[in-house]
């Protein structure tokens, strides 16, 4: 891979007059609407900004780039955008040469979700009118996704991931003809895949899919060097973005994405209690936002070639520059807050048109988003508002909502002054998240199997876990629970409570109160500790620990 080549090219292309436009004098507000630069018109500002970006790229000025990407116009042009994304993402996830090239040569094993990928890829790039171009874009999209899944088989594909990757594909392919690419991969043509996807998914079918995909890797040798380099850059970006930003979404369930969604009501509550109540956000789950969050708006705002100023690219510029997955959530709540009047009006108008509140709020939000997707001004405004408030929103405020290995709390938690992450660290986080997700599933299963026994206690506990409750209240909750357990024991109901206790223990260990629990120095917790431990270890020998 010859990824560093572009920086030297950039260096050569610098003209003398550009030398003065270095990032050193950049301030946060250089490209916001109050800046002095508004003296120039938009085109002039863009021109100045592209020259500054080019210099920042040449100087490898990452700080400068993050500020440029977070301000008005983002990275301005597609060429600059792809270079900036690559430079930033390569810095955020550091790979050794070996790690980069791993799998480039070999073909990898079929990933369990490849069929879903085929189904979604053949429904991608619907806005592209030229059929050859569309076919080529889809081939590339499929190739990148399959290659990534095979390189990291623990990642699970979700519907919507293809939308995210298509943003990268659009940015990296613009200006490339890729004729050789399309021809070279004829045997992986979509019609081929599609017919296989449509028939039953027997083992032999899967096997042949595997063969045809595998042969794509081997065809790369025939592609032009420029094509390979570009495709490798694209893959490198998608790889870093997926591992650092999308891990939460790539489990085998939607639990962690739903955790993320739950931040939206909290954000609204903290800024506008009345709106929060009127939208019934205390009663309903914000599922209406799922596609926007899972796809970072790329489902609503489809990327199109040759539109470098389209909001979707500016959103990705901002997310990558700020290295924060809180941004899409802040954007969503900002969108709601900024459209408050419209939303409330629609809610009032439609109260009788929907069967229940879940439907009503969903219906109204869908309407707001649909009309916003035709209006770039809405997104410009939302981005402007988010840029100006983002410093107030930081992930630690919502710490309780996420699992502790969540992207939002780790690898996409905001700009890091540190040196970026290495692959070992990130794959370790991935393993831990998968583990957490499995634990969560086990608890849910347990709740379904023993709804009656576990309901009150588990609910109480989950409530305590999911809400920010003052320490003193938690302590009293614990004491209350202890009392319940002691009483149950005395009443000879310990056996009946066993399942509850088990769930309780599991939840307990993973929770933030765990620190409290493990702190055996805290004497007053000991009876509970012992009781729980005892009751889990042996069903009969708990007696000695409970007696005062």
């Amino acid at each position: 891979m010859n990824i560093d080549a572009y920086s030297s090219t950039c260096q050569k292309s610098l003209s003398c007059s550009d030398e003065s436009l270095h990032c050193d004098f950049l301030t946060e507000s250089l490209f916001d609407e109050r800046s002095l630069l508004t003296f120039f018109n938009d085109a002039e500002q863009r021109d100045i900004k592209s020259r500054i970006i080019r210099n920042a790229l040449a100087d490898h000025n990452l700080d400068g780039l993050t500020r440029l990407g977070s301000s008005n116009f983002g990275f301005v042009t597609t060429d600059l955008r792809s270079d900036c994304w690559l430079m930033l993402l390569m810095d955020q996830l550091k790979l050794s040469k070996k790690e980069e090239e791993q799998f480039l040569g070999e073909c990898g094993k079929e990933h369990v979700d490849e069929n879903q990928v085929y189904l979604d890829v053949k429904r991608s790039f619907t806005g592209v009118t030229d059929p050859d171009r569309k076919e080529m874009l889809r081939n590339l999209l499929q190739n990148i996704i399959v290659r990534l899944l095979r390189k990291y088989p623990k990642l699970r594909y979700y519907q919507g991931y293809h939308d995210v990757v298509s943003v990268f594909v659009t940015v990296f392919i613009e200006g490339h003809e890729y004729h050789g690419f399309a021809q070279g991969e004829e045997n992986l043509s979509l019609s081929d895949m599609t017919s296989k996807g449509d028939e039953n998914y027997s083992a032999s079918e899967v096997g042949s899919n595997h063969d045809s995909s595998a042969s794509t890797e081997c065809y790369e040798g025939e592609l032009s060097e420029k094509t390979i380099v570009s495709k490798d850059k694209l893959f490198r970006c998608v790889e870093a973005f997926t591992l650092l930003y999308l891990r939460d979404f790539m489990m085998n369930s939607l639990d962690f994405p739903i955790d993320q969604l739950n931040v939206i009501p909290q954000m609204i509550k903290s800024r506008d209690k009345q709106l929060f109540k009127k939208l019934h956000l205390d009663k309903i789950e914000p599922f209406f936002a799922i596609s926007s969050i899972l796809t970072i708006y790329s489902h609503e705002l489809k990327p199109v070639e040759n539109q470098p100023n389209a909001p979707i690219f500016l959103i990705f510029d901002y997310v990558i520059s700020s290295q924060s997955m809180l941004v899409p959530l802040t954007m969503y709540s900002t969108l709601i807050l900024d459209n408050k009047d419209k939303i409330l009006r629609e809610i009032a108008l439609n109260v009788d048109n929907f069967e229940n509140t879940v439907d009503l709020v969903h219906g109204v939000m869908q309407q707001v988003l649909t009309s916003a997707s035709y209006d770039e001004g809405v997104w410009e405004k939302v981005l402007r508002l988010v840029r100006s408030t983002s410093s107030k929103d930081n992930a630690s405020k919502y710490k309780k909502v996420f699992n502790k290995f969540s992207t939002i709390l780790t690898t996409a938690s905001g700009p890091k002054s540190s040196m970026g992450y290495n692959l070992e660290y990130v794959t370790d986080l991935l393993d831990k998240e998968i583990n957490e997700n499995a634990k969560r599933k086990a608890i849910q299963r347990e709740r379904r199997l023993h709804p009656r026994e576990s309901k009150p206690l588990v609910r109480l506990f989950l409530y305590a876990h999911n809400h920010t409750i003052p320490f003193i209240c938690r302590v009293s909750l614990l004491i209350g629970l202890m009392a319940l357990l002691v009483r149950a024991y005395r009443g000879g109901q310990v056996k009946a409570l066993m399942p509850t206790a088990k769930i309780f223990m599991r939840k307990f260990q993973g929770s933030s109160i765990a620190g409290l629990y493990r702190g055996t120095k805290i004497i007053w917790l000991d009876p509970l500790h012992e009781l729980l431990k005892g009751s889990l270890l042996s069903k009969s020998s708990t007696s000695s620990t409970v007696s005062k």
Partner: protein
């Protein structure tokens, strides 16, 4: 209890319809749920219609037995993980369309699983309908008889359709809407006969239950 009811259009906003029916489309990914919907609502067909992520809805007003009926059509994502989300929208659905792809046996087998999910999450008296889509394809692996047998076993009506050729698409929605309307009318009659038993579940309780929120 009866979840079937029409939502009255009595609010002062001048609605141009007599009732609303909430209808849900479910089934595996790629069977053509969105295509059926787009064919019915916009009379268009696009073989590569976009993936549905989460849940989407469309509205079409139709004439059912002389009544202007607003069909509220909820389209769902097929990938299994989205079930957590989509089942939250089953509540209050008066009609549920279970769709499979006649060229893909697995989507047909999975209908039983979908049926189970419906029983767990939907109102007891929701009207179901089984649809075998893509009937125009010559790569069919599920016969009409297989579809019919399954429908009989589940005790629900059955239609084969093609969104591509516009075969039976309108029939799906009109059949379902008529069946729902019949149920409503029967309920009304029954409600009149023994109003003591189900008296407090008013057929026109639109705004009342709207405010009740979720669980």
């Amino acid at each position: 209890m009866s979840g079937l009811r029409t939502v009255s259009a009595s609010s002062g906003t001048g609605k141009s319809y007599d009732s609303i029916m909430k209808i849900l489309l479910i089934g595996d990914s790629g069977v053509g749920k969105s295509c059926l919907l787009v064919r019915f609502v916009d009379d268009k067909f696009n073989p590569s219609f976009i993936t549905t992520i989460g849940i989407d809805f469309k509205i079409k007003t139709v004439d059912i037995n002389g009544k202007k009926t607003k069909l509220q059509l909820w389209d769902t994502a097929g990938q299994e993980r989205f079930r957590t989300i989509t089942t939250a929208y089953y509540r209050g659905a008066m009609g549920i369309i279970l769709v499979y792809d006649v060229t893909d046996e697995r989507t047909f087998t999975n209908i039983r699983q979908w049926f189970k999910t419906v029983n767990e999450h939907a109102n007891d008296d929701a009207q179901l309908l089984l649809v075998g889509n893509k009937s125009d394809m010559d790569t069919r692996t599920v016969t009409y008889e297989q579809g019919e047998t399954l429908a009989k076993e589940l005790g629900i009506p059955f239609v084969e359709s093609s969104a591509k050729n516009d075969d039976n698409v309108n029939e799906i929605f009109f059949t379902l809407a008529r069946l729902i309307q019949e149920k409503i009318d029967n309920d009304k009659l029954a409600g009149g006969a023994n109003s003591g038993r189900e008296g407090n579940i008013n057929i026109n309780s639109g705004s009342g239950s709207t405010k009740s929120g979720c669980c």
